[in-house]
Symmetry: C2
């Protein structure tokens, strides 16, 4: 029996992954030059398919990088001279903040408990903060931030750049590109792909900021700084030899999502999330970690496990379902369930049946 992965990423792969991987091999795509016409067409197709699927405005640039973690580094290097401001309520929002520290910036933060979202207007964002960093979907705890809240904050701070981490909510999340200047995600979650590719989406305000920093003699990185990524993207290329296989497969999966319909993916996701939270709310053995509905992520569902996470994980694994342990300090007390387009309603019901 093959396991079914309901982890939060890497997770269950797209059902057609094998077909797409072999198709790329058959077509010789893993041998082609990253400076040639065939690669340019492949690059163009994937960018165009991503823009269609995610409704990315034409004036935003799509860059391919190694991981979402690299995305944090690049955004901070290219958009911040001194100060970024971070909303922190979990491991990944903390990583964003700590990355700024590591890069010798002077970040500040507004914190919330791990099981809560933010009352955003309570945050005092310093006047000299250049970039506001938001983890729209906190993969470590399953807390989300709603787009209208981000938009309201943006309207209060029109002078600042806004960056959002949508690593574990893409393609489900509807990103309001009027309210954000850059966003990033990786492909091993909502796209059901092997890990090893990150996607960074930035507007011209970010590019201009990076050029300004560079002109001031500030280190904005080398091959993956925004001007270098933009220059290559203008030729339908990447600065380095990229993960061509992943760029190809991502295009194929985007096509399949477009064909199925993103609204239908969202409806499916909502249905599965509803089933999961309803179960947790009715089973004291597995209380939902996030108590308030507006903060509950639809794509990362976290349950407390008073009996410890290990026996729960084992019970599910014995039945062929792999779900995630809690993250970091919650390793032994939480389970995390991914809810992505590859995950079937029937399997969710089966999981709940096992847990019951």
């Amino acid at each position: 029996m093959n396991n079914i992965y309901f982890t939060v990423g890497p997770t269950q792969t797209h059902p057609k992954l094998g077909e797409y991987l072999n198709e790329g091999l058959e077509k010789g795509i893993y041998s082609i030059s990253h400076r040639g016409k065939q690669f340019g067409e492949l690059f163009t197709h994937t960018v165009s398919s991503l823009k269609t699927l995610l409704n990315i405005p034409p004036d935003f640039h799509v860059f391919f990088i190694g991981s979402a973690t690299e995305g944090m580094e690049l955004i901070l290097e290219n958009c911040v001279e001194n100060k970024s401001f971070h909303f922190v309520n979990g491991a990944f929002s903390k990583r964003f903040f700590q990355t700024a520290q590591g890069l010798r910036k002077s970040p500040e933060k507004h914190e919330a408990p791990a099981d809560e979202g933010f009352d955003m207007h309570k945050a005092s964002i310093p006047a000299d903060a250049e970039l506001v960093c938001l983890t729209q979907n906190e993969t470590s705890t399953g807390v989300k931030i709603d787009m209208p809240d981000i938009r309201a904050l943006r309207l209060k701070h029109p002078d600042k750049l806004f960056a959002i981490d949508v690593v574990s909510s893409t393609p489900y999340a509807t990103v309001d590109y009027d309210a954000v200047d850059c966003s990033f995600f990786s492909v091993q979650k909502g796209f059901g792909m092997p890990s090893g590719l990150g996607v960074l989406i930035v507007n011209d305000k970010c590019i201009k900021k990076s050029e300004k920093l560079h002109a001031k003699g500030i280190n904005i990185g080398s091959f993956h700084n925004f001007p270098a990524l933009l220059k290559s993207a203008g030729k339908n290329q990447t600065p380095e030899t990229p993960n061509t296989m992943a760029i190809y497969v991502l295009g194929r999966i985007c096509d399949s999502y477009i064909k199925y319909g993103l609204e239908k993916i969202r409806t499916d996701t909502d249905l599965k999330a509803k089933l999961l939270y309803a179960f947790l709310d009715n089973n004291p053995r597995y209380p939902a970690f996030v108590k308030k509905e507006p903060w509950r992520s639809k794509t990362v569902i976290v349950a407390e496990t008073p009996e410890g996470s290990a026996p729960v994980l084992k019970r599910l694994a014995d039945n062929g379902f792999i779900v995630g342990a809690g993250y970091g300090e919650f390793k032994d007390t939480h389970i995390r369930i991914g809810n992505f387009p590859m995950h079937k309603v029937s399997d969710v019901k089966e999981i709940l049946n096992i847990l019951k």
Copy 2:
């Protein structure tokens, strides 16, 4: 008819690539957690297999990164406060130098013409240079540097760190780890893999230097700085979610190379290189770009094409063989032929037959 790629990377893929990719899928490797036991075993296996194949001393660390280009950035960020010194005779040695400039270091260089190697003792390396950067095999022009020359230089400068780019010569090149502190390569050349993974091999002197720079408040990068990579490697992990698929396949291909025997791979490579250069030396239509034997790369063979590169490339392509155009300024006047373990003697003979 499927094309056979004799390009210099990405190039012809390993004959078992399809089998290994599907095996990884079957085993669920693209779904596993990068923080779990199974990933740790996979990581350990690939590192161990690489160390065996390439005869890497036990005290060197193996790090997985996104590309060789990233390797240049990381080495410069982590090993250089102000000054690196570069031997430059082609596009990739120039990229290494320019990466240092981009990172706001103050590099210096010793240059040689594109078709020549270096008379190393003629280079005046400044006393304050912290790192000497050498492109052991210049992929743009097919010029190599011999290890004993690097060793002799190192003995003259025992106070400096030495970094070598072995991107297009691994696994053929015998790296003298007494003479170098770090080296790097990518997998889409001598390993016949899809691009998207770089390998960085560093010793403790490099780690110590990066820690020293960090302690001084210098930006050494964030998630992929040497201390971060080392900390994760100590747990058989990577800082970010990595290209697990590529790490897995690399281990499998290393195993196959070990089984076949690296010495046999080297003998095969020498034989194919001899055939190619003998042909070029006897055919004025395709003179070898590099005239002197000691400078001639065995893995990247470059020919001048007085008739222009386009008709030559077409003639070969019409017969199912894809070779590389010249790099950069040599695009229209050179062809470049890769000579890697996947390339068969019989196909080399066929190529020469077509060219004749």
